[in-house]
Symmetry: C2
Subunit: 449 residues, 2 copies
Amino acid sequence: MHHVVIVGGGFGGLYAAKALKNAPLQITLVDRRNFHLFQPLLYQVATGGLSPGDIAAPLRWILRREKNIRVLLGEVTAIDIARKTITLEDNRGEIAYDSLLLATGATHTYFGHADWETNAPGLKTIEDATTIRQRLLLAFEAAERETDPIRRQAWLTFVIVGAGPTGVELAGTLGEIANDTLRDNFRSIKPEQARILLVDGNDRVLSGYPPDLSRKAEESLLQLSVRSRLGMRVVGVDEEGVTMQPDAGGPPQRIESRTVLWAAGVAASPLGKMLADGAGAPIDRAGRVMVQPDLTVPGHSEILVIGDLAHVENDGKMVPGVAPAAMQMGAYAAKVISSHVTGAPAPPPFRYFDKGSLATIGRAAAVADFGKLRFGGVIAWLLWLFVHIMYLVGFENRLMVLLKWGISYTTYNRGARLITGQIEPLPEFELIDRGGEKSTQSHTEIVHR
Amino acid sequence: MHHVVIVGGGFGGLYAAKALKNAPLQITLVDRRNFHLFQPLLYQVATGGLSPGDIAAPLRWILRREKNIRVLLGEVTAIDIARKTITLEDNRGEIAYDSLLLATGATHTYFGHADWETNAPGLKTIEDATTIRQRLLLAFEAAERETDPIRRQAWLTFVIVGAGPTGVELAGTLGEIANDTLRDNFRSIKPEQARILLVDGNDRVLSGYPPDLSRKAEESLLQLSVRSRLGMRVVGVDEEGVTMQPDAGGPPQRIESRTVLWAAGVAASPLGKMLADGAGAPIDRAGRVMVQPDLTVPGHSEILVIGDLAHVENDGKMVPGVAPAAMQMGAYAAKVISSHVTGAPAPPPFRYFDKGSLATIGRAAAVADFGKLRFGGVIAWLLWLFVHIMYLVGFENRLMVLLKWGISYTTYNRGARLITGQIEPLPEFELIDRGGEKSTQSHTEIVHR
């Protein structure tokens, strides 16, 4: 039987597999994770609002009833175009395909500064999210222990690099945390005095949206005490902070901050490069495979690439790397593969149907862009909420997320505020005396401001 | 103002702090974690039924309204009895106390075989739970990839060492997972053919309970396909399995298993030893501090020890290391400290009030021991459920856990079945051919049994 191998169980791969469930095909879905991750809500895990389990669902569970689909845990490390096989982890297994569908998505990139990653983690995986959660919460804990006012301010300064949707979500939610969630939780610091800076090289936030929505988003961010530093290019990241170069010229600027988060730069998964090397597939600067209008690789109609790994153009404009595009490509790719097998006529070239864009900023704040219809505020936020709950996989996840949001909205609490994993050494202090006061006399006014 | 330092935010420490919230005292609660963990449900995290966030609540959040309580993230590494100070992480901070309350609990021990830990993780922390979750789920994934029948059987063999409440919970839940949750999730293996073995040196499971309840528990376990190997002492644990010595004599027995979990052996936190060295406090073999009837350390009425770290006897019988005992000691210790400060008469010696014991086995199965009243089955399980929901800290956690149980009970799903973190290399296989069949011909009958 015709064997379709799908690599990646994200939006693209999963929707393709589901669309092929009744086709006369044998399907193997390979993923290095055992779960489908609902990435649009990953920032909620990073900020302690949701648990990893709330936005993930085991791939086996989702596909358990599709008898023609086998799920296999593994990481693809090589593709042999001539033999039509893929290889898992350093030759630990080979899988032969008749059709190959690559949907391994993208990761973040540091524009050639890979060393920045240690001090400025990005947000693509569950582990990234729990790392960021740990850093954010630990910064407030460290500030509470710190007696030196300068160092304490550096602990209470948060820099988010990249003012796209992810950066805006992170910054906005961090604003909520500092202003509401952590209120009255500390005795030496006031979390609401945290500085949250959103840095971007563009001259406005959410530059993919129309300018009027960028302005709305910026206003909402300001209400959450997030300040934007726009037209700024980051030129250095280290343990103590960030150095930026103003686009308009002038000397570099330095921000002392112990917590820098990276929400800029997207690079395609390394499988794009493998296809370029093996099949001579053209790739763009971000490593995306430039596919044909039917999403196949030029010269290899048996290989299709979808989602964030694919560079597809409609009317000269690139289809954006968003979840709806990946889902649509997944469903389309299933049709193409079916037509190859059954001999049915091929579908017309892929066209992305843009239903509109939504970006959330924080508590009851979002922007919606439906072409001529553009708005912000509570309505946009409710719409954003509805759409995200609707597309979550699994009834249980939908119910839990909805409930947690309801509770969080009412109580300002964020239940999953756990610091887990190995932590860095915390600040030193001299003595907390018998009255429970920190002893560094000169700092008393700050300790008890 | 009199400064009380409480070390540990578990049941003992937290209940003590809460009982002191209106006393004319300054309190500092030190914990190396930022959350209170509801340990009785930790096995649910280890088995993918609940997320860490569901059974943990930030200590700061719980105590945010108690203005006389400061929460500090830190790990106590030394106690200076003479100067009345504790030291955090290698001298990174000192805290002076007037009263010191130690409530740092216990951890698991390997009876002098610390090297077993790598291959037989125990269950005390959130990280332990996610490690065990990873191991359990990965074993099924590995078995699905494995083509050699002997090695596959080793992946599908699970050994739980220790048939106390934790071991029984883990084994029973694993039985549910293999028989129900994972049903139809795989294509090469049948999860219900997993072997789950519960090993203990005692001649019955739940040896702390009356024999008739042990029998009931063993029957319930059998229904979940858990087999008990009793009267067996573990003498070796390695990557490939477990070696046991029958108590009744005879040659050692070997079980090939890739997944061994440790639910035996409890040792007190290292602070007991510190007190023994610094204050000459007597400790028992497990490292627990043998306190006075008022829970103070002999010769040091300013130091109290409670919970699993304390060895307390009532009528010559040791108070058990369970959550209700820790809570009662916490409340009692608060009274003792108050009486020291206010000069009020000291309370009568501590007495543990045993409300009865409940142990769960799995789906609708538990045993209840209220002295003369003893029963098992659904009623015991519902009671167990009610008590555990009731004592969970936080309305949100209660609601979430109740709902997740309801859903899990109905659907057999366990929503938090995520393999996260760094994983071990998965089994090698030769080739999955174009029909989606594994190529190792000789194993076909097992691959497709």
